[in-house]
């Protein structure tokens, strides 16, 4: 069998609603690894689901100069790893967040994929999304600003 994007989406939802932090699934030689938060991507980390996950947000200014200047008081949500940035759980689906969305620290804001390993990125902060950077399907670097949030 093949896993469709929709299946992955549903499996992700199951994980989201569960009390587990990660899930590793193997079907007919196809391997799917999902992890809450995005602190680590190494497969061996999946065996220790109780490890704490650092929030992805930091209030310090970004190193990446390509972003327009931020107004004071805004919080930046940065990518916790290098990978392909996805704003929505699957092609054509509603993005996780839009400008104006209210986020809580555990709100999923994006997926960053590294070699088929889907890492969910959480806001880590509470507030209202005022800027969204990062093009769907584009490469984001470690520490690159993905969102700005007004607390």
């Amino acid at each position: 069998m093949n896993l469709t994007a929709k299946d992955v989406d549903e499996i992700m939802k199951l994980l989201e609603d569960s009390s587990f932090d990660s899930l590793s699934l193997e079907i007919d030689g196809m391997k799917l690894s999902l992890r809450r938060g995005a602190a680590a991507t190494r497969p061996e980390c999946l065996q220790s689901p109780s490890s704490p996950i650092a929030p992805a947000a930091k209030a310090s200014p970004s190193r990446h100069p390509a972003r327009p200047p931020s107004e004071p008081g805004l919080l930046e949500v940065v990518s916790p790893l290098l990978g392909t940035f996805y704003r929505a759980p699957r092609p054509g689906a509603e993005p996780f967040v839009e400008i104006g969305s209210k986020v809580e620290p555990d709100t999923v804001i994006a997926i960053v994929e590294v070699m088929k390993l889907m890492n969910t990125v959480r806001a880590g902060v509470k507030g209202e999304v005022v800027d969204i950077f990062g093009e769907n399907g584009a490469l984001v670097e470690y520490g690159e600003v993905l969102l700005r949030v007004r607390p």
Binding site: R63, L81, L82, G83, V114, M115, L117, L139, E141, Y142
Partner: protein, 454 residues
């Protein structure tokens, strides 16, 4: 297949050195850098620099998937791994093969073949390359029998060990059984692999290695040898070519052995076959093969005029070997000093920090490979190599003299270095006479001297 854009998965002086050749060849460059290296000279020199993760190499430079993702995401055709980090991980070469990214280096299979010490020893034997008397020992009684055949003194080595780790010297055969049991237990604890093997101990040895290039189709050339006997705790400090005081017959046999080993593997790319020269027997034995570019490659480049990184790229690009053995000539003598941020006066303690002031030497026949300029940082997360200073001259004597002046012309403030050590060795009569053995550095350091010049 044509390489146009290369991702460099490394840092420091080697990243800059690879970037320079790429620029000369008109290739685009992407540097995969950790957060600690974003302001480094290579990061400023590359066409594009990507932040791949935090400072800790286990979260950045050692992440196979992230490196390949970075190459795919930037449409790089190839990955150059440099030395260290992922350069000899079959997993990176393998993932590149799977994802259609060119790995500038040997195949995953070749990396595995030389990474396993016993396997490499078997390949050497099959290629007709001399190995030290010895072999694997599965049981204590096997080991005792083998030990009696080899005779004392001998070394008990961990199959999974390396760089001096997991090694034990046995001077009297009655101590062998204890040594084997302890070595196996230590190896099991340290490497998760308790397999051991025995080899004759060479009391007076020199470390001489042969640089090879292979096209991956069975054609191999050698670029001569390098003498790396000036080592401290298995860390090379000074390297030179040609190796001084070797008989022409022995030198020619070394070159042939290096090429024969690489030919046996149909080796692809640049590699180094390391040998131990037994001074008392005037003979040599295979140690291991390094399946990557070496730190000390510039001395070979100095005497041959060959850009080894350019050759690596050409081979990876499927263009084969540009060189025939008879085209490769050796002119003059080259010596290299590794300048480390290590305090020579305090047992070579690493001394990372801010380099307030860096003045490097220059001049005819002087090459400096470095990523350190005034204001640069030596981060505490990585090795302490700051620079390599290479001198090339018609004779060994002139090259050493030139290097001595170059070391004296070097000024580093802010971090402690081993410059005083190099100045001392280059002026030491035993070193200048040539053909020092691997026990030279501890004996040199034990000599009484003034350590006033830092």
């Amino acid at each position: 297949m044509s390489i146009r854009r290369i991702l460099i998965a490394n840092r420091g002086e080697i990243a800059l050195r690879i970037l320079r050749t790429c620029r000369r060849l008109g290739l685009e460059t992407v540097l995969a850098a950790s957060e600690a290296d974003l302001e480094s000279l290579p990061a400023r020199f590359a066409d594009r620099t990507l932040c791949i993760g935090p400072a800790r190499s286990s979260e950045s430079y050692l992440k196979v998937e992230t490196i390949v993702q970075a190459a795919l995401g930037t449409k790089a055709d190839a990955i150059h791994p440099g030395y260290g980090f992922l350069s000899e991980r079959a997993a990176l070469a393998g993932l590149c093969e799977k994802k259609g990214v060119i790995f500038i280096g040997p195949t995953a299979e070749q990396i595995e073949a030389v990474g396993d010490k016993l396997g490499a020893r078997k390949e050497a034997e099959a290629a007709g390359v001399p190995v030290l008397p010895g072999g694997p020992a599965r049981t204590v009684s096997d080991a005792l029998k083998l030990g009696h055949d080899i005779g004392a003194p001998l070394l008990v080595k961990a199959v999974a060990g390396g760089g001096g780790r997991g090694m034990r010297r046995v001077d009297r055969l009655e101590d062998l059984a204890d040594a084997i049991n302890q070595a196996a237990a230590e190896a099991e604890a340290a490497f998760g692999d308790g397999r051991i093997y025995l080899e004759r101990f060479v009391a007076r040895g020199r470390h001489v290695e042969v640089q090879v290039l292979g096209d991956g189709q069975g054609r191999v050339v050698h670029l001569g040898e390098r003498d790396c006997s000036v080592q401290r705790r298995y860390q090379k400090l000074i390297e030179e070519t040609p190796a001084p005081g070797l008989g022409n017959a022995l030198r020619a046999r070394l070159h042939e052995a290096g090429a024969a080993f690489a030919t046996r593997l149909s080796y692809r790319g640049a590699g180094t076959v390391e040998f131990l020269v037994d001074v008392q027997r005037d003979d040599f034995y295979f140690l291991e093969m390094n399946a990557r570019i070496q730190v000390e490659h510039p001395v070979t480049e100095a005497v041959t005029g060959i850009d080894i990184v350019a050759e690596q790229i050409a081979i990876a690009d499927g263009r084969g070997l540009n060189l025939r053995q008879e085209d490769i000539g050796f002119i003059g003598h080259a010596v290299e000093c590794r300048i480390n941020a290590e305090d020579a006066a305090r047992d070579f303690l690493p001394n990372p920090g801010l380099v307030r002031n860096a003045v490097w030497p220059s001049g005819d026949g002087i090459r400096v490979d470095t990523h350190i300029t005034s204001g640069a940082h030596v981060p505490p997360f990585y090795d302490s190599l700051m620079a390599k200073i290479i001198a090339h001259a018609p004779t060994r004597r002139d090259a050493i003299e030139k290097l001595r002046k170059a070391i004296a012309d070097t000024r580093i403030d802010g971090v402690a270095t081993n410059l005083s050590f190099h100045a001392g060795v280059l002026g030491d009569p035993e070193f200048t006479k040539g053909a020092v053995e691997t026990n030279f550095v501890p004996r040199f350091l034990a000599r009484p001297r003034e350590m006033s010049h830092g």
